[in-house]
Amino acid sequence: MKRTVGLVAVLVLALTACDTDTSGGGGPVKLGMSVSTLNNPYFVQLRQGAEEEARTRGAQLTVTDAQNDASQQVNQVQNFTSQSMKAIILNPVDSDAAAPAVKAADRVKIPVIAVDRGVNGAEVAQTVASDNVAGGRLAAQELAEQMGEKGEVAVLEGVPGTSAARERGQGFTEGIKAFPGIRVVAQQPADFDRTKGLDVMTNLLQSQPGITGVFAQNDEMALGAIKALGAKAGQEVKVVGFDGTPDALKAVQAGTMAATIAQQPRLLGKQAVQAAIKAAGGETLGKTVAVPVKVVTKENVAEFVS
């Protein structure tokens, strides 16, 4: 009972707050952003990009961390709706589980921008995301070329069932088909984690000693694999990662990582804030913005190190 009263009070407050804001205008645009996890350098950079853009545009950005928990994320978005946010930036923990959060915002007519991952089963104002499938294809091409278009490849997969693991895997599988001399001999999960990348690669070297190429679906696993390969990394065995994190760029510079597919998390964050400000102003936006991914090798790594 107490809870219901509280809820009603919050709702009433939210509604009145909305009213005053729309009539009054003025003041900085209030934006809410729910990030899937800040437990990962990639999303930390995404947040930094968003915060920088918000500062230059004079918007007031509140960032929350959903700690990879989809239900917590729904709560956070609901809280945003009661804080009279003008637009919400959502970086879904899970593309399917994000739909209720988007619907909650939709009911009070607050536009939602999805960033990095899309939302299934609900309409968002715009999706700002890297092209993971294209990235997987680029990774296959780069790895094949560096391996001389022949040899055995192991794939380190991300957390089973996530869209990133699925799409990168799909792109890689499509891309590697173009090289009949290359055979994928093992595909094992290492959950996007560096320690697991190290352990799984160590184990695979036992069962598949002939591996000369590794595609890791993110840089953390690639760095773990490089640790497992030791002196072989960059020499007999080529490792290609994905994301372009600072540690990975260092490894590319050092020659232990053959290449990484750089996403541009700062740019993703920045574009998401731009889209959110536009949406808050009532503009209609295109369905998707595909932020390009880039192949980073020793030749061009200097461009990415800031």
């Binding site: 999960p189 560096r194 160590t202 184990n203 695979l204 036992q206 069962s207």
Partner: protein, 320 residues
């Protein structure tokens, strides 16, 4: 449960019957050697040892806590925090590495003492106190590191190396910590007090054991061991990561229970915990060698954990 029941059987059978977890490990190892020719090689078994080390060290600390009838959910986070503090103070704050290492260990100890204070003097249930610490330690690790990995000082990172071509340092650390655990449990007043508290806390109090002070020591040991585990983990990667060891507390608890400890307290041994950690590592290793699909791996791990503990409870029921 005394050994007299088995006096007429052969010693090997007695030993296996006394160690349900060990029997499970043997079954698992035999099955894997039949399924994969790569399993039973020296290199691979050493790999398994290295991969079990961090879980085992965490689990040794948790063994103390579980024997007293408590639980420690914070060990994974505390491991990450200790390693981050070590790496941060050695690189960003410029402390010499021995001091930084002491600081890292002190952080683990301190986290354990905070847990114990909340439990013994604040009367919080161990589940809640250590759940709070799980969040606090992980959060602090993120705050200090700004969410990014920090390189470990080279001198400390040797803990992740291999001496010669065969002797991995993490395995040595695991064995040393295991022996310390065994000595504490079997040969010291502190260890006997842990069993007494887990058996019956009120009786322990009435018989003159200062329960609150013993709990302080118990959780402090768990925190300290977590710090050691975190430092070994970060050394293996030569990098301290704020998100390291997430979820390891569950592996540690599983290892302790597979090893024959009871979650209601009073039971548990260092050797059992060691075997429990090995079972988990052997299983993960084997699944990789056999190229089992990502989706099925989680199912298999769950089933084996359940079977291992089931084997142990069945054994108890038939032999008592």
């Amino acid at each position: 449960m005394s050994a007299e029941t088995f006096t007429r059987r052969s010693p090997a059978v007695v030993w296996l019957a006394e160690n349900g977890a060990l029997a499970a490990l043997v079954v698992l190892a035999v099955a894997l050697s039949l399924l994969s020719s790569d399993f039973l090689t020296v290199t691979n078994l050493l790999n398994v040892g290295v991969q079990a080390a961090v879980t085992a060290i965490l689990a040794f600390g948790v063994t103390f806590v579980i024997i007293t009838g408590g639980i420690d959910l914070s060990v994974g986070s505390v491991a990450a925090l200790s390693a981050i503090v070590l790496a941060w103070s050695a690189t960003d704050a410029g402390l010499p590495w021995p001091l930084a290492t002491l600081l890292g260990l002190a952080v683990g100890l301190a986290a354990g003492l905070v847990n114990a204070t909340l439990i013994a003097y604040g009367k919080l249930p161990p589940f809640i106190a250590t759940l709070a610490m799980l969040g606090i330690a992980r959060g602090l690790a993120l705050v200090i590191s700004q969410g990014s990995p920090i390189a470990m000082p080279e001198a400390v990172a040797h803990l992740g190396d291999t001496i010669g071509s065969y002797l991995p340092v993490p395995v040595i650390v695991m064995v040393v910590v295991g022996l310390i655990t065994s000595v504490i449990l079997n040969r010291t007043y502190v260890g006997r007090a842990m069993y007494a508290i887990g058996g019956n806390e009120e009786a322990a109090r009435l018989s003159g054991i200062r329960v609150d002070r013993q709990k302080l020591i118990t959780y402090a040991l768990s925190g300290l061991f977590a710090a050691v585990a975190g430092i070994v983990l970060a050394s293996r990667l030569a990098s301290a990561q704020p998100q390291a060891a997430a979820g390891y507390e569950l592996d540690a608890i599983a290892a302790v229970v597979i090893g024959g400890a009871s979650l209601s307290g009073g039971k548990g041994r260092a050797f059992g915990t060691f075997v429990g950690a090995l079972i988990l590592a052997v299983l993960r290793n084997g699944l990789n060698l056999l190229s089992v699909s990502a989706f099925w791996q989680q199912v298999v791990i769950g089933v084996v954990i359940a079977l291992a503990v089931l084997l142990d409870t069945l054994r108890r029921r038939t032999t008592i």
